[in-house]
């Protein structure tokens, strides 16, 4: 029994000394506010030679309007806020970037852009070596594709941007639009909110995109002629199978074009803000 006592003593001591647990992986709150620790992009870029989006678009106006692409050889950079991404996959392989002067699309061959380009994040884009062009006359940054502009590889992109400030959604303000006349080419690539509009085909059953193709939906309001479409990807958009509301809505979207069609790209289902559930437009 003496032996047993000895054994149990050793057992108890050893079990006490030996703690069996994994490290606690708590987040240090300050860690991610330090720009040196931003874990995406190229942290060696510095803010210099900033060009405004408006000036950039003007500089390459011919390339954009002819839907071609041209390499940017000058050492110039954009500084702007992300206003739209693929959070619900309707914008796919692209994000919209906006500064005080306008907006532009960044076309990147990658899914899950929303994981590191959240709305409200401020970034720097080193344009030298990237291409600018028009996709159906829509200004965008990317790589050449079939004599026009297409997506740049995620590897190239990774070298050409730097996160300046983590996302702050208060920096994102959509332009309030009460009638179509308030929209112009200068608003392309920016976030807009169309006030008090309604969907033409909304019958309580129709969804945004019933098939796996892209679907264009029109607005009832006369000032938005058939040149204005709400465009949804049936294959990718997470809200594609949601029923379109019959009531009036405030519609927030990224304003783009494909040649002579003005396209409104809803970023996420919550961009459709129902004004009055009971008021049917039909």
């Amino acid at each position: 029994m003496k032996m047993m006592k000895k054994f149990f003593t050793i057992l108890t001591v050893a079990a006490t000394l030996f703690s069996c647990g994994e490290k606690d992986w708590d987040v240090d709150d300050d860690y991610f506010t330090n720009p040196e620790h931003f874990p995406y992009g190229n942290n060696t870029l510095v803010c210099q030679n900033i060009i405004s989006i408006k000036n950039l678009k003007e500089k390459y106006a011919d390339v954009i309007s002819s839907s071609k692409a041209e390499e940017i050889t000058e050492d110039i950079q954009l500084r702007g806020i992300i206003t739209g991404n693929d959070i619900e996959s309707n914008l796919s392989n692209q994000v919209s970037l906006q500064d005080e002067t306008g907006g532009i699309m960044l076309s990147i061959q990658e899914t899950g852009l929303c994981t590191y380009l959240p709305v409200g994040e401020e970034i720097l884009v080193n344009l030298k070596g990237l291409y600018i062009g028009g996709y159906g006359k829509m200004p965008q940054i990317g790589s050449p594709y079939n004599n026009s502009i297409g997506r740049m590889s995620k590897l190239l992109w990774r070298e050409h941007f730097r996160i300046l400030f983590a996302a702050d959604t208060s920096k994102v303000k959509a332009k309030i639009v009460n009638s179509a006349s308030e929209l112009s080419e200068a608003d392309l690539g920016t976030l807009v909110t169309l006030k008090n509009v309604s969907f033409k085909d909304a019958d309580g059953r129709a969804v945004f995109a019933p098939t796996d193709s892209y679907e264009n939906r029109y607005l009832n309001e006369q000032e938005y002629s058939s040149n204005y479409v709400v465009r949804t990807s049936g294959l990718y958009a997470k809200f594609a199978k949601e029923v379109m509301p019959q009531s009036k809505v405030d519609l927030t979207a990224v304003f783009t074009r494909f040649n002579n069609t003005w396209q409104l790209l809803i970023r996420q289902y919550s961009d459709v803000k129902i004004l009055n559930e009971n008021s049917s437009t039909k």
């Binding site: 054994f7 079990a15 069996c20 994994e22 991610f32 929303c114 990718y236």
Partner: protein
């Protein structure tokens, strides 16, 4: 006594057995089978290879035999290659403790990590090869073993050992005590083992930490001359990091076949994304009685409460964060395998290849999981109220098993004996997933994100549990799936032996009844009426038998012939179509039918012992269940394969030559085949649609994977002046990798290029791993002290540091071509999945230094 002598002489290899018993106590490296097998350090050596993961594919067979030179050495010597006896699934290898079958009721096999660290307790074993009579079972197709862990069987005295290693753990402390049988009839025994490795420690598994305590406590009382009762309890609480397989490209870029893609960096510190927690406390009460001199009855009752969980990294509305994910590798941008694929060999593709190459090789941070990035993304998701992009679920498998088992050994006179027994066990296996770590995110909901997009957010189909729609998931909460499997098993067996002249006959029989059902704990939106609550019950009856004879031809020569046929109940883990979703059983589920036979020649002389064995087995109606992410469908795919037919055949040779009294040579070799001889049926369900599809898998010609089918080995052992030296060279070859069913679906549109104009389907060749040569050695010395003895030993495996030996792996379940529904065409992907299987490689040079003090 006379009976014992007769049995021993009738059994083939008396000589060896006695020698083994002698050398066990005298010479831990003496070279006799039993000695090497039972030696402290040898056992430790392979311990880390055994069953650490909750899947049978990476577990070596633990098999031994006192009667066969090949079988007694193969399991231990070949464990660095993850050798499985005859390439059979581990469910055919039965493990008993105190006469109770401990193989898992759901998957059919025993996980050796449950007794990890208890080497000194499991030394007293009774082994049975597939065609050997024994006292505890009708042996399994890949053999059976019974560990007798009662305290009276534990060596008397104290034993303390300390070890340093660069294996799965870097340090180990072990203390064992056995009281022996006291005057009052009591015996006690105990064991405590601690094993440890840090994340950064120097070892052969990159970043895999290891924290484990093993304990054993036993008490036994001799009540009177014919009755003893014992209680034993043991367990092995372990927490450790895992290692993942990767592609040759990733290993090349990382500059090491030791690269572990499960690792990452978080705020500058190494973090393993796969944390395993494992604890299976077991208690066994055994009563042994001898009602008369010819009968011994042993009855045990047991309970096992096992908890096993494994974390992993998952993603939602984002891309796979695995660092070796194909789209992050250079060959994800440029098709390096097909010169004609001009679409993926442009200037820009080549430039991307180079950029990816530079990225991967420029910094260690770039080839591991970037936890900082995952946290950053999740923190930004919090701002918009979105669900976590990345999270770590913990997959749990908890088992509660209890039962009783009785074994009877009955002598029918001097020439014959009958052993028989029966057992009953009840099993409840809980499968569920909890949120282990939200990685900084604040929001997550219990919805099926794969189904969103195909269904609106308000549809029932997107709900994992419709009873609580859109339920918020916090850390520790159950989500995704939650179900129990129940199974009752009643079984009986008998072994009859008869000795007539020079012939030892034996016949074995077994039969069992099994029932099983599922209990869903969530009402899955895909099948709301058939997911919550009990499924119907499935019943199976099986049985079979073996007969055989051993003929002593005199002068040490003997022949052994055996054959058997049996039906075996499918394991519960292959019985359900999509157990994570609903209650559906696999249709057409049948008992396996197994024919096996073996012819063996043995020679046992004073200097030479040799065995040559030829065997054949055919398994029909085999079934298999698997689950993987199918990128063609952007969803998980649950696949049941049924109607599998496999053949196993081969030859095994073992020769041991005593060149000098202190010098021995041991040669071992096997050449075998283990292959699917038919195509099989597949039924699969996608996690984004819940519809079942069927197909035919072109499995004919596929081989069993993860074990070498050809092995040659030569060893030499020498002892002089108390020193024991051993050196063994092993050659491994013909190692196959687990084949992908998806790449072999005969009717899949993405595989239609594999059909020739005559309509013949040409299945891609099964991926293989490289074999190679491995040199292992050991040196040790026993030192007698004034009080007790000290053993010092060094073991070194893979001394030549051959890190190019593949020990298994799997083909990626992805196809090389993508399908465009609109144009009904297929096209090459840039990344050629069929040329990039995931592989495991053998550890480089690794060793263990042991100090053992006995007093």
């Amino acid at each position: 006594m006379r009976k014992k002598i007769l049995i021993l002489s009738a059994a083939l290899f008396t000589n060896q057995l006695l020698k083994a018993q002698e050398t066990d106590t005298l010479n831990p490296f003496g070279g006799a089978d039993g000695a090497v097998r039972l030696d402290e350090s040898s056992f430790t050596f392979s311990e880390s290879q055994l069953g650490e993961d909750d899947s049978d594919s990476r577990q070596s067979t633990v098999l031994s035999s006192s009667s066969n030179v090949f079988s007694s050495n193969a399991g231990m010597k070949f464990s660095p290659s993850n050798y499985r006896y005859r390439a059979l699934d581990n469910k055919y290898n039965e493990v008993y403790i105190n006469g109770i079958l401990m193989n898992d009721a759901e998957r059919g096999y025993f996980r050796f990590s449950q007794i990890g660290g208890l080497n000194n307790i499991t030394r007293n074993s009774d082994d049975a090869l597939p065609f050997e009579s024994n006292g505890f079972c009708s042996p399994g197709l890949a053999g059976s073993v019974n560990y007798d862990i009662r305290p009276s069987k534990i060596a008397q005295g104290h034993k303390i050992s300390a070890s340093l290693a660069n294996r799965t753990y870097t340090g180990r402390l072990m203390y064992t005590y056995g009281s022996g049988i006291g005057k009052n009839g009591w015996s006690f025994a105990g064991n405590l083992t601690c094993r440890y490795a840090s994340t950064e420690g120097f070892k052969n598994v990159e970043g895999a930490f290891y924290n484990s305590i093993s304990y054993y406590i036993g008490a036994e009382k001799i009540l009177n001359s014919s009755n003893t009762v014992s209680v034993c309890t043991f367990g092995n609480p372990t927490m450790r990091g895992s290692r993942g397989a990767s592609t040759d490209e990733a290993y090349f870029l990382a500059g090491s076949n030791n690269y572990n893609p499960y690792l990452g960096y978080f705020m500058g510190e190494v973090r393993n994304s796969r944390v395993v927690k494992d604890y299976a406390p077991t208690t066994i009460v055994t009563w042994e009685t001898t009602p008369d001199e010819n009968t011994k009855i042993s009855t045990s009752a047991f309970i096992v409460l096992s908890k096993y969980s494994n974390t992993k990294l998952s993603y939602n509305n984002s891309t796979n964060p695995a660092p070796d994910y194909y789209s992050k590798l250079p060959s994800g941008f440029f098709n390096a395998y097909n010169r004609d694929d001009s679409g993926h060999r442009t200037e820009a593709d080549l430039q991307n290849w180079n950029t990816a190459y530079d990225y991967w090789t420029s910094s260690v941070n770039n080839r591991y999981i970037n936890f900082d990035a995952l946290y950053y993304s999740n923190l930004s998701a919090n701002l918009s109220g979105a669900d976590a992009f990345y999270y770590m679920p913990e997959i749990h498998t908890d088992r509660i098993t209890g039962g009783v088992s009785t074994n009877v050994k009955h002598s029918l006179g001097i020439n014959s004996a009958i052993n028989y027994g029966f057992s009953l066990s009840r099993n409840k296996i809980k499968h569920y997933q909890t949120m282990y770590d939200l990685l900084g995110a604040e929001n997550f909901h219990n919805v099926n994100s794969f189904a969103l997009g195909d269904y609106p957010s308000y549809a029932i189909q997107v709900q994992y549990d419709y009873r609580y729609p859109n339920e918020e998931v916090k850390e520790g909460d159950v989500f995704g799936f939650d179900y129990n499997i129940f199974s009752d098993i009643l079984s009986g067996w008998a072994v009859y032996t008869l000795d007539q002249g020079a012939v030892h006959y034996y016949a074995t029989a077994r039969a069992s009844y099994t029932d099983m059902f599922r209990e869903g704990k969530m009402q899955n939106g895909f099948d709301p009426n058939n997911s919550y609550g009990h499924s119907r019950k499935a019943y199976f009856g099986d049985g079979g038998g073996k007969i055989g004879a051993t003929v002593n031809l005199g002068k040490g020569h003997a022949l052994d012939l055996g054959t058997g046929y049996e039906w075996k109940t499918p394991t519960a883990n292959s019985a359900f179509l999509s157990p994570e979703v609903n209650n559906n059983f696999v249709t057409g589920l049948k008992c396996e039918n197994i024919f096996s036979g073996q012819l063996s020649y043995a020679y046992s002389g004073s200097k030479v012992n040799a065995n040559l064995t030829g065997y054949y087995a055919k398994i029909g109606n085999n079934s298999k269940w698997t689950c993987f992410y199918d990128d063609n469908s952007h969803s998980f795919s649950y696949v049941s394969m049924t109607g599998i037919e496999k053949e196993y055949f081969g030859a095994e040779l073992g020769i041991r030559v005593k060149v000098l009294s202190n010098l021995e040579l041991l040669a071992l070799g096997t050449i075998s085949d283990a292959k699917y001889v038919s195509d099989c049926n597949a039924i699969y369900m996608m996690s984004n649609s819940a519809t079942y599809s069927s197909d035919v898998v072109a499995s004919k010609g596929m081989r069993e994977d993860g074990t070498p089918l050809s092995i040659a080995s030569l060893g030499i052992s020498y002892n002089v002046k108390g020193w024991f030296i051993e050196l063994t060279g092993n050659c491994y070859d013909r190692i196959y990798l687990s084949f992908s069913p998806l790449a072999r679906y005969k009717n899949s549109v993405t595989n239609r290029e594999l059909i020739d104009p005559a309509g013949e389907f040409h299945a891609p060749d099964q991926a293989r791993g490289e074999g190679g040569f491995m040199l292992d050695g050991s040196i040790g010395k026993n030192i007698r002290l004034k009080k007790g003895s000290l053993y010092v030993g060094l073991l070194a495996a893979n001394i030549l540091n051959n890190t190019n030996i593949c020990t298994g792996g799997y083909e990626q379940n992805r196809t090389d071509r993508s399908y465009n529904e609109t144009s009904n065409t297929t096209s090459d992907k840039a990344y050629v999945f069929s040329r990039n299987p995931k592989k495991y490689y053998a550890w480089g040079v690794n060793g263990m230094l042991n100090l053992v003090y006995k007093f």
